[in-house]
Symmetry: C2
Subunit: 156 residues, 2 copies
C-alpha cells in the first residue's frame, strides 16, 4: 500500500469508487467530485492509498476557517473491493498524521444518522471520534446529522 | 426601516459596521467581507435592513448542500448604533420568511461559547434557537463552538 496525494489522473477511479460504494446518492457523488477537483486545485487537502497500482481509498479534509487548530474531515471513501483490509484505518491514521503536521489538533466530521451509515459511524467511533452534536432531520426527514470530533493529541 | 438586498455600494458601510461591532477579529471581518462579496456574486443569500438611508444590519445565509430543507445562517451583524431598536429581530424574522419561501424548514448556526458572545447567544435563544451540539475549544482554547438549530414551521 502506498499513501500518496491523489492526482487528476485518479479522477475516473475516484468516480467509479464513489459509485461502487453504493452508500452515496448521485448528488453526494457530484459534490464529492466537485470537492475532489477543488482539492486538486489546492482548496482542500487530499490523501489517498494506492494498492496494486490503483487508488483504492481517499480522504478530503481541510482547516476550519476562523479556528486556530480545528480541521474538518469532509469525506473518506474506501473501495468496497478492499473494505476489511485495514486500508480505511491506514488512511485515517495518515490523515491524522498529516493534520498534526499542519498544526491541527482536532478533527471534526459530520455524518448521517441513517441505519445505512452505521458502518462508517462504527469506523469513526473505533478510530476515537465521539459524538458532540445531533441535528434531527438535517439531511432529510428521518436523516439526522451527527457531529463527531476527535482530539489528535501529540505526534503519532 | 426597509428590508432589502444589500448591493455592492453597501460594501464600505458593511465593513465599517463589522469593525464598529467590536465583537469581530480582523480575520473574522476579512471572512465576513469575503462572504458578503460571494453573496453579491450569488453564492450566498444576503438580506439587509436600511434605516434613514443607511444599511444598518445584514445577514448572510444559504442552503446546506446535500440537505433537503436545511439552511445555514452564517452571519448576522447589526450596527451598534441601532442595537436595541428591534432591527436585529426584524432582520431575523425576514431571514426566516425568506428561507421558508425558498422551501427551507430549519436554520442552523454556529457561534462562539465565549462570554463576549453571550449577547448574540441570548438573541438566538429568544428567537427560538436551541442548542444541538458543542465542540470544546473549536475556535481556540477556551472558545467552544455552539451549534444552534431552529425549526421554521409553517408560513409566517
Amino acid at each position: 500500500m502506498i499513501v500518496r496525494r491523489p492526482a487528476a489522473s485518479d479522477r475516473d477511479v475516484v468516480h467509479e469508487t464513489l459509485t461502487r460504494c453504493g452508500a452515496f446518492t448521485s448528488e453526494e457523488i457530484r459534490v464529492a467530485i466537485e470537492m475532489f477537483d477543488a482539492g486538486l486545485a489546492g482548496d482542500y487537502a487530499l490523501l489517498g492509498i494506492e494498492a496494486e497500482g490503483v487508488l483504492r481509498a481517499y480522504a478530503c479534509f481541510g482547516k476550519a476557517s476562523l479556528t486556530a487548530r480545528s480541521w474538518y474531515l469532509y469525506w473518506i471513501c474506501v473501495d468496497p473491493v478492499v473494505q476489511g483490509s485495514g486500508i480505511g484505518q491506514t488512511l485515517q491514521r495518515s490523515v491524522e498524521d498529516c493534520v498534526r503536521h499542519m498544526g491541527g489538533e482536532r478533527l471534526v466530521l459530520e455524518t448521517s444518522g441513517r441505519p445505512e451509515y452505521e458502518r462508517p459511524r462504527r469506523f469513526y467511533e473505533r478510530a476515537g471520534f465521539t459524538v458532540h452534536g445531533r441535528i434531527p432531520d438535517f439531511y432529510k426527514p428521518g436523516d439526522d446529522c451527527i457531529i463527531y470530533c476527535k482530539l489528535l493529541g501529540g505526534a503519532a
